[in-house]
């Protein structure tokens, strides 16, 4: 679609994009990002004995650790993805979403899901212990025992319904488009199907039907698919959409795009069990997961080659064009994290680094270093277009970029380096305290790296606020995706 020359009869931006919902999703996403970072900070200070709030039930670092991961996945990433999809899907297929009222209903419903998750994890156990009527409930009001799926069991069905509505709302315009689709649309279609199936599988099967080792296998699939089949395809779909627009040239090789998508689609879902190597899960399944993981690394290499070949010759844009820099920084981290993954999934590495902070460093590099950087890049690109004004401060944008990316680099490197230390402390059979004491300097550095990342976001928030004030002062028009086409001489927004 993207390389098709615009025709006069094509619908205009004003008929396609509901701008207020994009803004609403982005602002909500950033609010959740701040909440998640504060939750991470609480846990980080606890580890180095700097937590002044230790011993307060509602601020228990354990509960807030689950807030940290769940809010970043379902609060920040999901909201930011939905905002970016409301911009890019209609412009990609030249049709508005199925129903604008449905879009707003989903937005509200999803925030209800998030608030319930927050409320359940933080307040659930307390309420249930203190109110007799709630104590008798046959289920827990608090967190569910599934990593990345701690959303309480009682909110899971609503969350699943929300995911179905999201798929319907975006698949509506996609289904009515004829002929072969552009790369982004492949990733989006697959992501809508996979996210729904993954959520259903991970939250219901190990809770109601399976126990023990087979539940562990499903749990592994869920942890992995949530990153691989929800976050990754949406992220790549958006990058395939925005990078050619920003660089004003097509993706280097369509063939490699095909290899990348189909390779990822086949191998990624087969990886899950690599989270539980050396468990009682049958060994042949563990070997299968390891081999598929290494295959994913090969596929990822083709995608990264494709993107770096695309920017070849336009390298200066990395300096001058900030969104391009965000995207390509994220891609470097993606390459690193996948390379790391291909190593750490081997049994040799697992024996040493499983259960250590190596994995925590890896997780931060994926979730923040890749997908959050991409989404922050998209926001950097879109806010001025949504509000039709320049950024309030280019300098603050640079601070945001450097504090986020360097902060993340320090945090990830620090934790990944700590992993082998912990692994060797344990393997040498020294007392447990030795590994905890030995981790202290690394954990302290991690607190400061996290504070740098948080400071970067504060720069961004202030910049957004001032940009919004400026756009309000200028009184700019808003596109809701339902207007008539403007007169022909008014060019649509780039």
């Amino acid at each position: 679609m993207i390389d098709k020359l615009a025709k006069a009869e094509d619908p205009r931006h004003e008929q396609l994009v509901d701008e207020p919902i994009v803004v609403a999703y982005f602002l909500l996403a950033l609010g959740y990002l701040a909440l998640s970072m504060l939750a991470g900070l609480l846990m980080a200070t606890q580890l180095v004995h700097w937590n002044p709030l230790n011993g307060i039930e509602l601020l228990s670092p354990g509960r807030w650790r689950m807030i940290h991961t769940n809010v970043v996945a379902y609060g920040f990433l999901a909201n930011a993805f939905l905002g970016a999809l409301h911009w890019s899907v209609p412009r990609l297929v030249l049709k508005p979403v199925l129903d604008r009222r449905l879009s707003w209903f989903i937005l509200v419903a999803w925030q209800v899901v998030l608030l319930c998750t927050f409320f359940g994890i933080v307040f659930g156990p307390t309420l249930q212990a203190n109110i007799a009527a709630l104590e008798r409930l046959p289920f827990s009001l608090g967190a569910q025992g599934i990593e990345w799926g701690e959303t309480p069991t009682w909110i899971d069905p609503l969350a699943l319904a929300g995911l179905l509505l999201v798929a319907v709302n975006f698949m509506g315009p996609i289904v009515r488009t004829k002929g072969p689709m552009y790369v982004s649309a492949w990733y989006f279609i697959a992501a809508f199907v996979w996210t729904f199936l993954t959520y259903a599988m991970g939250n219901f099967l190990p809770q109601y039907w399976l126990a023990g080792t087979s539940a562990g296998a499903v749990g592994g699939l869920f942890i992995h698919d949530l990153v691989g089949l929800f976050v990754t395809p949406l992220g790549w779909g958006l990058v395939y959409y925005f990078v050619p627009i920003l660089l004003q040239k097509p993706i280097w090789s369509h063939g490699l795009s095909l290899v990348g998508f189909w390779g990822l689609a086949f191998f990624y879902p087969l990886n899950g069990i690599h989270h539980f190597l050396y468990t009682p899960i049958p060994m042949f399944l563990q070997y299968g997961a390891i081999i598929s993981t290494i295959a994913v690394e090969m596929v990822v290499t083709t995608v990264i080659v494709n993107f770096f070949a695309t920017i070849w010759g336009s390298g200066r844009q990395l300096i001058t064009n900030l969104p391009v820099r965000w995207f390509y920084t994220g891609m470097v981290f993606y390459g690193l994290t996948c390379l790391q993954c291909a190593m750490q999934t081997t049994l040799t590495f697992q024996a040493l680094i499983h259960f250590t902070d190596w994995v925590v460093g890896h997780a931060h590099m994926v979730m923040f270093g890749v997908f959050s950087l991409w989404l922050l890049g998209i926001m950097t690109y879109l806010f001025p277009r949504l509000w039709r004004t320049e950024w309030y401060s280019k300098e603050l944008l640079e601070y945001h970029y450097w504090l986020s990316s360097v902060g993340l680099l320090v945090m990830a490197a620090d934790l990944i380096l700590l992993g082998p230390f912990q692994g060797y402390y344990w393997a040498s059979l020294q007392p447990w305290e030795v590994s905890v004491d030995g981790s202290q300097p690394f954990w302290m550095l991690r607190v400061f790296a996290g504070l740098a990342m948080l400071a970067g976001q504060l720069c961004f928030f202030y910049n957004i606020y001032m940009t919004w004030r400026r756009s309000r002062a200028q009184g700019v028009p808003v596109s809701t995706g339902t207007q008539q086409a403007p007169p022909a001489e008014v060019a649509p927004q780039a």
Binding site: V193, A217, G219, G272, L352, A427
Partner: protein, 231 residues
């Protein structure tokens, strides 16, 4: 086909997901379908290790136990186990403590026997509590290694019995002081004492001695000590 809506939807979206699900989730589920999943009542039944600990809690904290559980019965013990697991999950204990012993990295020497599938075929492992991170030690063989008093004080304020521990304090498992565990406190201690209670190697805590260090490690430690004395 590779660029069309239906191709992506049917082959990649549904097909590949289903293939992965069949091979990675259904295969283990079918392999273990003949292993019966035990109920909590079955786990408590004839588990003298666990009942010993539960009775010990009743003796140590008679008023608190009477108030929250009444008598020492298998039903009450099952109730405490279930609440204990619920608390273990909702307080995120399992994000810092794993529950499986691997056959590598000398874990057998540190924790005890390597984990086996049968150990996990019960409702208290639904969803399974393998865990993915060890900030604190593995707990799958923790039961019986320490007394109930130790656990009570440790939950109240970990640093009182474990210097330098980064574990948060859980004063809300108590009615004001470490000798007054409340319903959740008694439940969580019961749950921790249950872990490993099905094994032959379950220790009586006053007799518990850590597994002796392997010879070559002992030798190397002695050698190091000698060398440091010499220098």
């Amino acid at each position: 086909m590779f660029e069309s809506k239906s191709g992506v939807f049917l082959i990649a979206g549904l097909g590949f997901f289903a293939f992965a699900f069949l091979s990675n989730a259904l295969v283990p589920a079918l392999m273990y379908r003949d292993l019966p999943e035990k109920t909590t009542a079955q786990l408590v039944e004839e588990n003298s290790n666990l009942m010993y600990q539960f009775e010990n809690l009743a003796n140590r904290y008679p008023e608190q136990f009477e108030k929250y559980y009444g008598e020492v019965t298998e039903e009450k013990c099952a109730e405490a186990l279930e609440l204990g697991r619920r608390t273990y999950v909702s307080e995120a204990c399992w994000h810092c403590h794993s529950q499986f012993v691997r056959p590598v990295s000398r874990e057998e020497d540190r924790w005890g026997p390597v984990s086996r599938t049968e150990e996990y075929q019960n409702v208290l492992q639904r969803p399974v509590m393998f865990g993915t991170r060890r900030i604190g030690p593995d707990l799958s063989r923790e039961g019986g290694r320490r007394g109930n008093d130790w656990h009570a004080v440790h939950f109240f304020q970990p640093t009182m019995v474990s210097t330098g521990s980064p574990m948060p304090a859980y004063p809300w498992f108590f009615d004001g002081s470490p000798d007054k565990p409340n319903k959740r406190g008694i439940a969580l201690i019961t749950y921790v004492q249950w872990l490993g209670s099905w094994l032959e190697s379950y220790p009586y805590y006053e007799d518990f001695k850590p597994i002796p260090l392997p010879e070559e490690i002992k030798e190397s430690i002695e050698k190091e000590a000698e060398e440091s004395q010499e220098s």
